[in-house]
Point group: C2
Amino acid sequence: MKPNFTLRLRVFNLNCWGIPYLSKHRADRVKRLGDFLNMESFDLALLEEVWSEQDFQYLRQKLLPTYPAAHYFRSGIIGSGLCVFSKHPIQEFTQHVFTLNGYPYMIHHCDWFCGKAVGLLVLHLSGLVLNAYVTHLHAEYNRQKDIYLAHRVAQAWELAQFIHHTSKKADVVLLCGDLNLHPKDLGCRLLKEWTGLHDAYLETRDFKGSEEGCTMVPKNCYVKQQELGPFPLGIRIDYVLYKAVSGLYISCKTLKTTTGHDPYSGPPFSDHEALMATLCVRHSPPQHNPSPTHGPAESSPLTSVLREAWAEVDQGMAQARWWATVAGYAIGLGLLLLALLCALAAGGWIREAALLLWTPNVGLVLGAGAFHLFHMQEAKSLCKTRTELQHVLGRAREAQDLGPESQPALLLGQQEGDRAEEQ
Amino acid sequence: MKPNFTLRLRVFNLNCWGIPYLSKHRADRVKRLGDFLNMESFDLALLEEVWSEQDFQYLRQKLLPTYPAAHYFRSGIIGSGLCVFSKHPIQEFTQHVFTLNGYPYMIHHCDWFCGKAVGLLVLHLSGLVLNAYVTHLHAEYNRQKDIYLAHRVAQAWELAQFIHHTSKKADVVLLCGDLNLHPKDLGCRLLKEWTGLHDAYLETRDFKGSEEGCTMVPKNCYVKQQELGPFPLGIRIDYVLYKAVSGLYISCKTLKTTTGHDPYSGPPFSDHEALMATLCVRHSPPQHNPSPTHGPAESSPLTSVLREAWAEVDQGMAQARWWATVAGYAIGLGLLLLALLCALAAGGWIREAALLLWTPNVGLVLGAGAFHLFHMQEAKSLCKTRTELQHVLGRAREAQDLGPESQPALLLGQQEGDRAEEQ
């Protein structure tokens, strides 16, 4: 790599809102998105909510001349909805499906059936290894009473751990996606603190787009006002995050979002706004820059967010165990009722009613059984997350107790390779 | 690291056969295992089938003075059964639960409920980063007609991919566990070819133990002859595998197995035999050693095993789709029957029989629905595995076509960091 080397990376991210039969004007939006991507010729286009594989295949064909490499991340029953189009060859790809992803009985929310995941692509660009991640976390349906909060925190932690463990030899790390997290939400802070990723919107000096970088705005004709809840001006839940290893500078030269319509002032591509970032990677001598949020002095915000996440996951675990217990009682009750109905039917009393009640009772026992097992598994997965958080918290505290001299050996040993150079 | 540096690593692996209520003499075996581990003071003890968390907690307390660090990998409904005890501090840990792991309706086989996984521990020893993995793949219940073959191949691939992507900065990689794969089985070859891991049994010059290194032997009083099927002398399905990065030599100085009884000639610790390896890591100048199985000339065995795995996974996918279709027809049939029963009951004909048949019919529709969804998800996961295999196969072929000069840039770019130095 030459000393005056510069890598310019143009990245596009969009949650496409591509639900077959339900999303309005899907075919037209996908067609126009394809035209736009072809015209702009980004280095990478990372898409979420491409739920229909036919849409992906359509885009693949359409984008083939401009983006010869593409991948669709399959998972769960419906699919993760994640896909990527790349101008450069994809060296490797893999994915990690989140252990927790809502509840199967919340059929109207559908997330559980999607098998939400994080996809990883490894690209070799100008002698650098770029790990690009694309993800979509569980949706937030009710901010005031969010029953999925523990799951989303656990997903953010799993995402951070996946990036942490798979990017140790990467020169540049890029994460794009719909996190379904506001910038100050616990999951977002946890992800950023543990991986050291920078938020393009906060870092760039050249931003053009919607107010406060919002990616769901009331001006978008597909957005219902009630979806924005207590944020009538919009919410920012889609991100471009990045970092580079020591010896490289990475900066976001420009960041644009669409503003409720497509870039030609036509109808929007989706109910989310698209993000378009130009990143610049430059060679630089390794520097030690203990900023307030990164470097040895940072252990305090990290421990604080870890502690907060621990408490949230712990609460979720208690809740999961409570539901498993309730289901256990329901199984017992159902079995008792079944025995009673059998006795009634055998004795000839209210035979018909007994037979009629048999079906809902068998349903109760089986349903409660499945419910019990599901929440047992949920509790176990949350317990796993809590143990991992506790371990990292313990090591972060050790690092603090031993003072700055010993921190590199302890805490930084944990975050080796995750440290991003300040711009 | 000094030029004459040597790291000696004593490792213990055992599938503990710790099924509560079902495994014979469990408490006594766990107690004796704890005594043995305390006395031997290994660097790492990696255990599988510790299904009861109480057993883990008992061992944790008992081993605390000798092995201050320990971790239990929680997953699924029952748990992964994996745990580890370490004499050295554990810097980091995480886990990956396999996407495919048998069928929930095969309740008697139970694997699906375990959430089988691979656990990763990162240790820093004498300035080296050691990534230690412990795993347990889906059991093989019928070698002649193995309905889980595609799942086990997919698990072996996911395991290989997890190691590949998480160990890029590790100096030494160690994988221990019960792979439920014979040495020449497709999954085992795939894992070794893609990760470059060496088999301690094949590499060591000092082996003591059961004939041909078998880890399930007829002499073990807990092994039923029919479990060994067409291998009356025993099978080798538990492994110690390892590799080191360029610049380091790793070798297996000694490997021992128990031989149907514990090391004091008492009753065995488990129905599996324990593996005890002494590994030696030494400094060495980087060497390029294109052996028949590693180096640029290796692409042929890799492509061959990738092709074989692709075919197996493809067949599994067709099977999964067939089952999903069958279940689809069963749903239709069930719904028709339900409509018929409703009509009969409403019309007053054979009212009682109609009501009696209502329950099994609702059961049929719901069961077939769940079956359909499960096999849809299975097909999607196998399709994901097939796509990953196809991508690697494509790149391996490209590397072959371009000749040895271009191989490092292509295929070795894939396996960067995975290359192990020959002993």
